[in-house]
């Protein structure tokens, strides 16, 4: 991805889960409508993958926290 394209997208680590998920939805919509250039398509796809990873990490982390809390609740 070129520097110009990198600058266009915010760092995923700064995004909340909702922001990452919403942006992923937008990326999919843009790709489905058809990007103007192949370069743009690839850039969007790469962004989509990064956003997906962020969402997955967040959800897995949340699930771990929930399981941990369940464990504590079970000890009561």
């Amino acid at each position: 991805m070129s520097d110009a394209q990198t600058a266009e997208f915010a760092d995923v680590n700064d995004l909340s889960f909702e922001q990452a998920r919403d942006e992923l939805t937008q990326v999919v919509a843009q790709l489905e409508q058809g990007a103007p250039t192949l370069e743009r398509s690839i850039a969007l796809w790469e962004r989509g993958e990064v956003l997906y990873q962020r969402c997955e990490e967040w959800l897995l982390g949340a699930k771990k926290r929930l399981d941990a809390a369940r464990g504590v609740a079970g000890d009561d």
């Binding site: 998920r21 192949l38 398509s41 690839i42 796809w45 989509g48 997955e56 959800l59 699930k63 929930l66």
Partner: protein, 429 residues
């Protein structure tokens, strides 16, 4: 030497209002004026509470206390009158008395001689309380909007109650059963009788000023209607309305409830009920918290599952899951373009070849070489142009003769006269 005080006075009579240091009035004069002045009050009817009631042979001597303050008057009820008044009157009763104030100059005493007395009936009291209730309502002191909500779990509970009463035990025991760590500040006060209102007010003032006290309970285990009149006292009611701390009334009298029930922020039917309303049940709260936690977990797990599903669905969309497709699409586009280019180029080449062939045919048809087939020849001077006239090929000039089939060399012998040439035409080669 005689004592001047023991002899008769020769001072001229002076009215008390005209007296001076040099011209004083006599004690008797002052006494008479007081007697006459007091006599002008007539025989007023006075309401109050009997606080002392002592029978003697000559009559009954009693004390009548103001209902709203500490003022008292001493009553004298002669035997002749005593038979005309209710026989069951006792200390603590509210009465209306017709008195004649009398000043006895000989003894320097003011006494109130009773000529008639009647007990204030329950109806009278209720009517008076109802008037007070209406007054408080008109001032907005009974409005629901004024009621303060009780804290969920008070740090410290203030309790105003009689000393060593069942009401106190009930509140403390029930509160501790519900929430063992609850803290109490107990202020003891008289809950009936003439001292009740001042003591209740003092206790309220003290607890309301304590920043740690989050709620105050007035507790008393029921009792006779008249015993509870202190809890309908206007001074107490206004103090409760003005208090900063939420107040619970737990007087425990279902019929003819005291006005405190209306002014307080919450009315409890009994001291036990007050404890239940003020202090939450720890086991009940624990169950609620656990249930809430369980519901949160379920809801959260469901939400996570839903979000996971959404993200997975997005990720499995062909545009993300199969990015090769765009390359394939572009390759296909490219191939199609190349095919079209090739097709177009091939067509152009064929068209051009045909055109060239046509041109070639046309060229062939127009070519002088076609003339050679008919026996003609083209003569060129070697290394020079085509020979058109005899002058172009003088004697001895080397020539190249192009025939239909091949080329020969020759040497010119110069110009010759033509024989047998068609008339009027000189064909030259």
């Amino acid at each position: 030497m005689t004592n001047p005080a023991s002899g008769p006075s020769f001072t001229p009579a002076v009215r008390p209002r005209d007296s001076t240091a040099d011209m004083p009035c006599q004690v008797g004069d002052l006494g008479r004026d007081m007697r006459d002045y007091i006599a002008r009050l007539g025989s007023p009817w006075v309401e109050g509470e009997i606080t002392e009631w002592n029978h003697r042979a000559v009559g009954t001597f009693a004390t009548l206390r103001d209902m709203n303050g500490d003022a008292i008057i001493r009553l004298t009820i002669w035997s002749s009158v005593r038979n005309r008044i209710p026989q069951d009157i006792k200390a603590g009763d509210r009465v209306v008395v017709c008195v004649k104030p009398e000043y006895r100059a000989q003894r320097g005493e003011l006494s109130f001689i009773v000529s008639a007395m009647k007990q204030v009936g329950l109806g009278d009291l209720l009517e008076k309380l109802e008037r007070l209730r209406q007054q408080l309502r008109s001032e907005g002191l009974l409005d629901a909007s004024r009621k303060r909500s009780l804290p969920f779990l008070p740090t410290t509970v203030g309790l105003i109650t009689g000393k060593a009463t069942d009401a106190e035990k009930d509140v403390l025991r029930n509160a501790e059963l519900r929430w063992p760590n609850v803290s109490f500040r107990v202020e003891h006060a008289a809950v009936q009788g003439e001292q009740s209102v001042p003591q209740l007010l003092a206790a309220l003032q003290k607890l309301d000023a304590d920043p740690e006290v989050d709620v105050i309970i007035f507790a008393r285990g029921g009792g006779d209607f008249q015993d509870l009149l202190g809890f309908s006292d206007e001074r107490l009611l206004r103090a409760v309305a003005a208090a900063h701390t939420p107040i619970v009334s737990a007087i425990g009298h279902e019929n003819d409830r005291p006005l405190l029930d209306d002014v307080a922020d919450l009315r409890a039917s009994t001291p036990t009920d007050a404890a239940k309303r003020v202090v939450p049940d720890i086991s009940e709260q624990l169950a609620l918290v656990r249930d809430a936690r369980s519901r949160i977990m379920t809801r959260l797990a469901g939400r996570l599952q839903h979000e996971q599903h959404v993200v997975q669905q997005l990720h499995s969309r062909p545009v993300l899951a199969n990015p090769d497709r765009w390359l394939q699409d572009r390759e296909l586009q490219l191939e199609q373009s190349i095919s079209r280019i090739r097709a177009r180029t091939g067509l152009s080449l064929e068209q051009e070849a045909t055109r060239i062939a046509r041109l070639h045919a046309s060229l062939g048809a127009l070519s002088p070489l076609r003339t050679l087939d008919r026996g003609y020849a083209i003569v060129q001077r070697r290394g020079d142009g085509i020979v058109r006239t005899p002058d172009d090929a003088p004697d001895g000039a080397e020539l190249v003769v192009m025939l239909a089939e091949g080329t020969i060399s020759a040497v010119s012998r110069g110009e010759v006269a033509q024989e047998g040439a068609p008339e009027g035409r000189a064909d030259r080669i």
